[in-house]
């Protein structure tokens, strides 16, 4: 009895998988959708805003950010994005793009970095940090990631980032690797890159900042990480905190050789 009942089910399952093979896979359809969006990526608007902000004299000191050192010397923007996070001698810290921007905004323009870090995403100066990050990332579009690992601090941050990536905690006993530790997984229709190894060109670390069509927001890497922690039901990490920079270092070093597509467009 049990056998006869099971048999028709198996036949249906086999037929089902055959018809699915003839159609486009879900991933292919999503790729088509993304290609359609690509031409009018509103990240362009944020890019233009970021470029203006870089050159504009602002803050109590009324200066522009044009002398900001992003790791390749004061004012050098092109190629800086694909080598961040890195160690900066002047602050004696490993910094990612967004935390470095906070330093420049404080030292050059006289803005209060602590206040900006405490501002919620999408409000006040945070919007300016995101726009700046978008433009700076865009200046390195197509270049390959090559994070420095020469300094002892840079190596330490990579190791810390790795530990954080695999650390399970929270009410769901989640870690970053719960979702990003295997190949070919997804949440609903969103592909989840395997971030424990090189996910390839334009995926994962090489795709943010990105414009999110569903909520019309521009997100930097800091907000991406913050939201990953929200989804894991962790407490929110501090903006530009060492923990987030360490995670960025882990993801960035893993992405070595991948071409950056940032600013990308997401669902």
């Amino acid at each position: 009895m049990r056998m006869t009942r099971a048999l028709p089910l198996m036949v249906w399952a086999a037929l089902g998988s055959m018809s699915a093979m003839a159609q486009k896979t879900a991933v292919q359809s999503i790729e088509e959708y993304r290609a359609m969006l690509q031409d009018g990526n509103p990240a362009d608007l944020f890019e233009a805003k970021g470029e203006d902000l870089w050159k504009q004299k602002r803050g109590p000191k009324n200066t522009s950010l044009e002398k900001c050192d992003l790791g390749k010397g004061p004012g050098v923007v092109k190629g800086a994005f694909v080598e961040l996070p890195r160690y900066f001698a002047d602050t004696s810290k490993v910094q990612d793009l967004e935390s470095r921007l906070l330093t420049c905004m404080e030292t050059l323009q006289g803005l209060n970095a602590t206040e900006i870090a405490k501002t919620p995403f999408g409000k006040g100066e945070q919007n300016n940090v995101t726009a700046l990050a978008t433009w700076i990332a865009a200046e390195s579009k197509g270049m390959k990631f090559n994070l420095p690992q020469a300094h002892a601090q840079e190596k330490a941050f990579y190791e810390v980032g790795k530990r954080l990536f695999f650390q399970r905690a929270g009410p769901h006993d989640f870690s970053c690797s719960s979702c990003h530790g295997q190949d070919n997984t997804r949440i609903r229709l969103q592909d989840l890159p395997n971030l424990t190894k090189n996910p390839g060109d334009g995926v994962g670390f090489a795709a943010w900042p990105a414009y999110r069509v569903s909520n019309g927001q521009m997100w930097g890497m800091q907000q991406r990480l913050n939201d990953c922690y929200r989804q894991q039901r962790f407490p929110y990490p501090g903006f530009a905190s060492d923990a987030t920079v360490a995670l960025g270092m882990y993801l960035g070093v893993n992405s070595k050789g991948s071409a950056s597509v940032a600013p990308a467009i997401k669902r």
Binding site: D39, G40, P42, D44, L45, A48, K49, V213, G216
Partner: protein
């Protein structure tokens, strides 16, 4: 003052493809804020494109158009060097015009 648009216009033979990216909130008037109050509608109502000052396209838009909308259309007979100007006007009376050169 509204943020600038990004306009690209590319001629290929007789046909010119114009791509416009507008920066606008496009609030539908259907959403509620954290306090449960309706967020007032705020969206583009009229769009007009001009080729060398002559109107070539007009559109009436409503609340269903997305935030930061992207508009693409074709114009016949535009040549490289011609000016394409796009104007939008929203329901609060705010307006913005930007111009691009056909390449």
């Amino acid at each position: 003052m509204a943020d600038p648009m990004r306009i690209r216009a590319q001629a290929a033979g007789d046909k010119t493809t114009v791509r416009v990216l507008m920066s606008h909130e496009m609030e539908s008037g259907q959403r509620k804020d954290a306090a449960g109050k309706i967020v007032p509608a705020w969206h583009i109502q009229e769009v007009e494109a001009k080729l060398n000052g002559k109107s070539v396209m007009t559109a009436e838009w409503g609340a269903s158009v997305s935030k930061n909308p992207f508009l693409q259309f074709n114009v016949k007979g535009a040549k490289a060097g011609d000016k394409i100007a796009v104007t939008w006007k929203d329901n609060k009376g705010d307006t913005r015009t930007d111009e691009a050169t056909v390449s």
